[in-house]
Amino acid sequence: MRIKAKLKGDVVKVKAMAKHPMMTYDIAEKKTGSRDNANFITHWDGNVNGKVVFDASTSQFLSKNPIVKYEFKAAGFKKGDKLTMTWVDLKGNKKTGHTKIK
């Protein structure tokens, strides 16, 4: 997971990219013959020191290697704080990444 977090004024702006094929049911059927091979990120979240700053539930329709941009209020956070993000996919795989807020 590639994450960039920047504190600007009273907002932290984040851009994150996950590496995931985001294989839809249709593509799974077409390329592998079985819809059971579909797999895509279903939940993606982020927290700074345990405080949730990002929470997205997702479908098969995000692009492959999905990118998301989000923002949260900077109050209570500062440069150097650690942002940890985790995604979970349909088959139960999990991946965590982190960065320091710059």
């Binding site: 249709d26 692009s63 990118i67 088959k91």
Partner: protein, 152 residues
Amino acid sequence: MQRRNFLTLGAVAAASAVVAPALQAIDYRAEKPDAWKAKTVDDALKALYGKTLADAKEAHVTVKTPDVASNGGAVPVDMSCDVECESFALLEDVNPESLVIVFAQNDVTIPKNSVKIKMKKSGSVYAVAKGKDGNLYYAKKTLEVALGGCEG
């Protein structure tokens, strides 16, 4: 199947242990499973919020995409809402299911997001926010898709 549910529960339980319940954001995948199977915008909204687009006001929300997307596999969408909301969702009316993503909101999140999505063909995207006042707000953008994106 069971393993996936266990992991999802585990993730939610772990987060709940660290953050006060009042500040917790909802996992819409776990809480509203029917919304993800809905084939139309109204069915998805009914499953999510118990309302349809006719109940929503076209205000407070903006959604931007190119007028013509050259690659249906990666259509850039910018969405934002200028009122406090509980959740912020993106839907479309061209893919096998309508709901694309739901951003749960809490006291620190800002409803302003960018994503890249798949669109099977030309059609419309809808950004819908559930305001803290209980109202639904939305914006709609119609666009052309040069090369459909659901087939890889």
